[in-house]
Assembly symmetry: C2
Homo-oligomer: 234 residues x 2
DNA sequence: TAATAATGACTGACTAGTCAGTCATTATAT
DNA sequence: ATATAATGACTGACTAGTCAGTCATTATTA
């Protein structure tokens, strides 16, 4: 860890981003719900700043002073929205996961050839995870998960458990339709996503030394995989 | 992070494991080299303690007071062997890697059918990495690597770069021999090891909720993989 | 006894979390 | 409409505690 003297990181500071001051002409709306909206917006701002900070320094290394600076607020304000550092971290993971789970559940019921579903998922993963801050969430889980059993459990229930249930359902359907003949993936659904994990880890660790085309990797993976499992048509 | 008050962790303290005091009757040996030996042994003890501590708490979370306690020495002693915390971490990775690299290099020149080599490597990985503290080194690299570019680069040069060179050599040999017909793995050697990475990450993160038989996973992986790439014998 | 190794109390920089006080906004009274 | 009061979001200086790294002292060895 660059034990350098810590830079005072003025970065990304939208200089005192003002209080929760309304900017737009007030539409028909009770004062109460306007405040609720503003609180929600500020909460989001803190979470966004926290993602930057935690992704950059890890849980222990992250400083709430810097989260506050990134969000353009005072440190005390964070504690009006989150009980403590750990709760902030937990809520960060939780909030990032909820939209993702929906995507997973949706995949279960797609009614297309398995091969097509897989190719679409590969694209979606490259676009929606590797191409966004979500990859940082995955990385944070990998890096910090062991030290936060509660969060790890929550993550397990929300992501791999659901994702693997979806994989199993899709594989079963593929077998019933006669598209594929091998049920290994029902036993080890991990085998379908493992190159995706490699892509997440590789990126930002070795990418500088040997760039990796994640989407091509996933495509190659599925090409090999389907050669192995699909009905042979010689 | 269990923000509990930090337990004073008396754990694993081999109660004052004595100074560098010789225990055994002195054999024929110059005083100089005896000292060198003892220094080396103490160095190892510190590194072992450091592995425990870093693996448990991560780089930022690790306390050198605890490393010292685990090693049964005083904190100041650590500084007689390592310049600072970061150097200790770096040397930990470095020392754990050197024996491992030899294994990788050895694999290149094995002269057996590719399938057999792969099965052996799967077993070796399960035994020598997943079954030992080495998996903690891999995990540490995954977790902390981004924050230590120098160490990440070193790791890259010593492990994936060499390992993938070996994979490429083996694949080429397999093709020349007519054992396999697909060169995807030359382009993406990551595909051969990705389930191993999954196994490392899964273990100690989700293992409690859904145990994973790593060796079975790797065997299933190679079975599928070879179905896809080996010469078809219908 | 001299030289070297080890110790552990200590320092100083750093940070999670607190809280008394400020001030923009909203509600109420005139 | 204007003045006054109430609200509660926000602030930032402060506390209490942590921990990497130092060094004067003590122990061991030759």
């Amino acid at each position: 860890m660059p034990s350098k003297v810590r830079k005072v990181s003025k970065e990304a500071v939208p200089a005192r981003s003002a209080r929760l001051t309304r900017g737009r002409a007030a539409p028909r709306k009770g004062a109460k719900e306007k405040w609720a909206e503003r609180r929600a917006a500020r909460r989001e701002a803190i979470l966004a700043a926290a993602l930057d900070e935690f992704a950059e320094r890890g849980f222990e290394g992250a400083r709430l002073d810097d989260v506050a600076r990134r969000a353009g607020i005072a440190k005390g304000t964070i504690y009006l929205y989150f009980a403590d550092k750990e709760t902030l971290f937990q809520e960060l993971i939780r909030s990032a996961l909820s939209p993702f789970v929906a995507t997973i559940e949706a995949a279960r019921s797609i009614d297309l050839p398995l091969r097509v579903v897989c190719d679409r998922l590969a694209g979606a993963f490259a676009r929606e995870v590797l191409g966004t801050r979500r990859k940082d969430i995955v990385r944070l889980m990998i890096s910090e998960g062991r030290r936060f059993p509660k969060i790890a459990k929550f993550y397990y229930e929300e992501v791999p458990k659901r994702a693997f249930a979806a994989v199993r359902a899709l594989v079963r359907k593929g077998i019933e339709r006669g598209e594929i003949v091998d049920d290994t993936l029902e036993k080890f659904p991990q085998l379908i996503i493992s190159p995706a994990l490699v892509a997440v880890v590789w990126d930002g660790l070795f990418d500088k030394y040997e760039p990796l085309d994640a989407e091509a990797l996933l495509r190659a993976h599925f090409t090999l995989l389907f050669k192995a499992i699909e009905r042979r048509t010689p």
